[in-house]
């Protein structure tokens, strides 16, 4: 069943992932020009054929050991958390680390705790655990609203909060939540800890400001104030798919007036995008359908989302406006309930 295929016929079966097409195409162009392109296939000839590429493996049992390994191997290593994004990347040969540092044994990174208006979520907190967490439901309702929309049940069994944030897929739910709430990312390295605000964490497609020797250990969310209503809206091709456009929305009402508004979009750029202009229009106003219509129009007027096979730029823009309307109305409705 597993047939050895030579270097030049490796893509006979055809890649099944849009990103894989890009990499294979780049490799073919480079080869035609006589240059080494990005590697698409490599198998140790003496070993059996396997789905994942050859990789070394370490499973540290303490954070200190993990930091030691990261310091030694830097960007040759990939950190394996829940594996629900990294293992597909390995399977499709889009990621080729020399070493996997498996942090599933770091129990100390699975704690959820609330103190002084801030909620700390350990990086290895599994998504299903966060989904069932009363602390998160009570104090970070926007995170609680987004969690059930991530992949499917079996994906959330393994997937982690820190893993999704470090993977930084711009169409994913959790990065948009972090951006909307101005979450903070705590990273550790042998030279100490850093706290990075969400605005500086997401740098580009699948890229964060984490240095190669750093490990994401914790994500801190501000606890929602009284009178806060939230909504996570998304439009996806199929249930559980990545969003074509997603929206994290949070409104805080004081005496019927919006005192705080937070919006962040998923799927509109290479990073989650904050709707700062819309937020300014909302603060100081009373919630109404007319207000939300106006904000939806203005907030999306200057957007220039990317086009792909799932939707044109114009379509995404229209979806974004619809989601702003729906998200703000839903957030205003449940803010009333929470007052």
């Amino acid at each position: 069943m597993f047939r050895w295929r030579g270097q030049d016929s490796h893509n006979l079966d055809g890649p099944r992932h849009p990103a894989a097409v890009t990499v294979v195409a780049a490799a073919m162009v480079a080869r035609a020009a006589g240059q080494p392109g990005p590697a698409t296939e490599e198998c140790t000839p003496e070993g059996p054929r396997m789905k994942l590429p050859y990789v070394e493996y370490e499973a540290p049992s303490t954070v200190a050991e993990a930091l030691e390994l990261l310091a030694e191997h830097q960007d040759e290593a990939s950190v394996l958390a829940g594996g629900q994004s990294l293992i597909p990347l390995l399977a499709l040969r889009l990621a080729r680390p020399a070493l996997l540092i498996d942090i599933n044994g770091l129990r100390e990174l699975s704690e959820v705790s609330a103190a002084n208006g801030s909620v700390s979520v350990g990086a290895m907190t599994r998504e299903y655990v966060a989904e069932d967490s009363e602390t998160i439901a009570d104090t970070v309702p926007l995170l609680a609203a987004a969690l059930p929309l991530i992949g499917h049940e079996a994906i959330r069994s393994r997937g982690t909060i820190g893993g999704s944030m470090a993977h930084a897929d711009p169409a994913a739910e959790l990065p948009a939540v972090a951006r909307a709430l101005d979450a903070e990312f705590v990273v550790s390295s042998k030279s100490g800890d850093r706290v990075i605000p969400a605005a500086e964490w997401f740098e580009g497609y699948l890229t964060t400001s984490r240095r190669a020797d750093e490990l994401l250990v914790e994500v801190r969310f501000p606890a929602a104030r009284r009178g806060t209503g939230v909504s996570f809206q998304e439009v996806a091709r199929r249930h559980g798919d990545f969003a074509i456009v997603g929206l994290a929305a949070s409104l805080t009402l004081s005496d019927g007036v919006i005192s705080d508004a937070r919006l962040a979009f998923a799927g509109l750029s290479d990073v989650p995008v904050r709707g700062a202009e819309a937020e300014q229009l909302l603060v100081g106003e009373r919630p109404s359908a007319d207000l939300f219509d106006e904000v939806a129009r203005q907030a999306t007027a200057d957007l220039d989302p990317p086009a792909d096979l799932h939707g044109s730029s114009d379509y995404r823009k229209k979806v974004a406006a619809t989601l702003v309307r729906r998200g703000l109305q839903a957030a205003a409705d449940n803010a009333d309930e929470r007052q």
């Binding site: 099944r16 992932h17 070993g47 396997m50 789905k51 994942l52 590429p53 050859y54 990789v55 070394e56 493996y57 499973a59 594996g83 629900q84 293992i87 597909p88 390995l90 399977a91 499709l92 996997l100 498996d102 599933n104 299903y128 992949g151 499917h152 049940e153 079996a154 994906i155 069994s157 393994r158 249930h239 559980g240």
Partner: protein
């Protein structure tokens, strides 16, 4: 190669594997448990779903080495010795499946879900099975089977 010891369907099993070997491949190739099917191999289709420590997981997105010390249940271990579980009987009675490729994944996902949510309604069952792909049935017969199983579980 790493030594791998884990519990599969209630029995302690050992083997050795490279770190990059997925749990799905380890079950099929090293333990000869070929009931777990491998479809897309990147977490999209759900065919390889097994139960690890009580939770449904994609065995293609977990390394065999990560299951060391875990309790794994595969389709082979669901029913009583050679027979079918209540869930499997109900799916059989409902003509839930056709070609059978996606079947073990659906059954394991449904088994884990009914264990945790014995009173689930149709909408919750649809949601729970939404990560599994079937190209034959149009899904309704599968939902019917799981609903029937839930009903029979409640009666017994």
């Amino acid at each position: 190669m790493l030594d791998i010891t884990l519990s599969v369907n209630g029995a302690t099993r050992t083997g050795s594997a490279e770190p990059r070997k997925t749990l799905a491949d380890f079950l099929r190739e090293d333990l000869d448990l070929t009931g777990t099917h491998v479809g897309c191999e990147h977490g999209v289709c759900g065919a390889c779903t097994v139960i690890v420590d009580g939770r449904a997981v994609r065995s293609c997105l977990m390394l065999a080495v990560q299951a060391v010390g875990s309790e794994v249940t595969t389709i082979e271990g669901l029913g009583p010795d050679g027979g079918m579980s209540t869930l499997q009987e109900a799916l059989w009675d409902s003509h839930s499946f056709q070609c059978g490729f996606c079947t073990p994944g659906f059954v394991m996902q449904a088994a884990a879900f009914l264990q945790a949510h014995p009173d689930a309604d149709e909408q919750q069952i649809r949601e729970a099975l939404s990560g599994n792909i079937c190209r034959c049935t149009g899904y309704q017969s599968i939902i019917d089977g799981v609903l029937l199983a839930a009903e029979r579980n409640r009666q017994s």
